[in-house]
Symmetry: C2
Subunit: 225 residues, 2 copies
DNA sequence: ACAAACCTGTTGTTTTTACAACGAAAGGCA
DNA sequence: TGCCTTTCGTTGTAAAAACAACAGGTTTGT
């Protein structure tokens, strides 16, 4: 099983956080994951199916897509090396997939069975509990990020979306001066608004003395300094 | 510990799904949760804190709120009996709260320590594993719902938000004819749009022959019937 | 059966946003 | 340094959404 863990993507995955190499080997033996290869364009899972395992993408890229009643396709997200694929569906209870996954490039995935993970094995390797804990952490953190994004996106006006996001960033960094990890296009995509309109709004906010910025560096201002 | 599980809210909670009464008693003994009471207006936790336990609301109502850099308060969500409070933060890794929770009414909460839940106890009661599995399921399902909501909300135009939502409902029900669980105001809030504008858009969609509806009953139409 | 409260659709007006097009600044690279 | 590419800000216009106000329908409670 050395061949599995001797892979930086796995070693550095949040799923194996705090698990040492020799521990992970026993663990992987116990989980006996399989590696799957998908050629570019090949489906990894289809909308409507139910799945009992999820994937850790080792290499390549996966498009998660959704097709609506009229057949329009939407790209929901991309999943790359180190990211999990389908973990929410496979961990949920008897929930059919509402999305499909397609290999956007030749892709290699390590497939892990949820029941195997959740049932501490008979020979109960010690680090199994840590793995479960890691899975809970991953789900919880994703949860938290999604909720945060929703609070920004559910602001009615673009100005409020921006201030909600920037305020959050400021709070994270513990200062009214901070850098953001997005360029303008990425931020616009994140907030689901038009880039140029957003640039204009930022400019207005600066003119009104609510904040200042240079490129990715922002400073939030208040009346009282 | 009978006093805990002899409470419909707990008994029916997804956290205790598939766990029978006598099993739950042992479990609760092992978890030794405490009950906390909060008077209306009292803070349950504050933004910035880190928490290592989450709550199951037994009675009352909790406002989850967020205060931005300029001191504007936003209501993020309400948490009522049977719902979990703070589970994402307490299960995440060392993540400070980005929201606060305030009792909107006199509220009773059962407080559960995450580490206690995650570490299968020394006398390893059998149903502990089921509890952990339930927690994973809860997190995963919430995850799934949040992702779904984001896919609707991230549509640029209101028409697309509506069609995204309705298409999803149709798919869930496995038919192009279905009822939705929201009234107009609730749907507008869910999609974060104005109700009357949304009503107008629905009307337009009907005129254009894309769908029909009477009240909460919708039918999606296609060119080819 | 009636009143009151609530929900829904409609319309006109105002505000906000998207869209398109472009020039300037910044960053990479030969 | 100079060229090329990417990113960013700006502007005018078109489209979309919010907003406000109201009327008809439905539901609820008495």
């Amino acid at each position: 099983m050395k061949k599995y863990f001797d892979h930086n993507i796995i070693r550095e995955s949040p799923l194996f956080r705090e698990i040492k190499e020799h521990e992970a080997e026993a663990l992987l033996k116990c989980l006996s994951p399989r590696r799957s290869h998908y050629k570019k364009g090949e489906y990894i899972f289809h909308m409507g199916e139910k799945i009992s395992s999820f994937g850790l993408v080792l290499s390549g890229l996966v498009h998660v897509i959704k097709e609506d009643y009229w057949g329009n396709r939407a790209l929901i997200t991309d999943v790359g090396p180190g990211d999990l694929l389908g973990e929410a569906f496979s961990c949920a209870d008897n929930t059919a997939l509402t999305v499909s996954a397609v290999a956007a490039e030749n892709t290699e995935i390590m497939v892990l069975d949820v029941d195997r993970i959740m049932s501490t094995c008979s020979n109960s390797c010690n680090f199994h509990n840590r793995l479960i804990r890691n899975l809970v952490t991953i789900l919880a953190e994703k949860n938290f990020h999604l909720t945060t994004k929703i609070t920004h996106m559910s602001q009615r006006r673009m100005r409020e979306k921006l201030l909600s996001y920037l305020s959050e960033q400021s709070s994270n960094k513990g200062s009214n001066r901070f850098d953001i990890p997005f360029n303008r296009q990425e931020l616009a995509d994140y907030l689901s608004v038009d880039r140029s309109a957003m640039s204009a709004e930022l400019s207005r906010l600066q003119n009104e003395g609510i904040l200042t910025y240079q490129r990715n560096h922002f400073t939030l201002l208040r009346e009282d300094n």
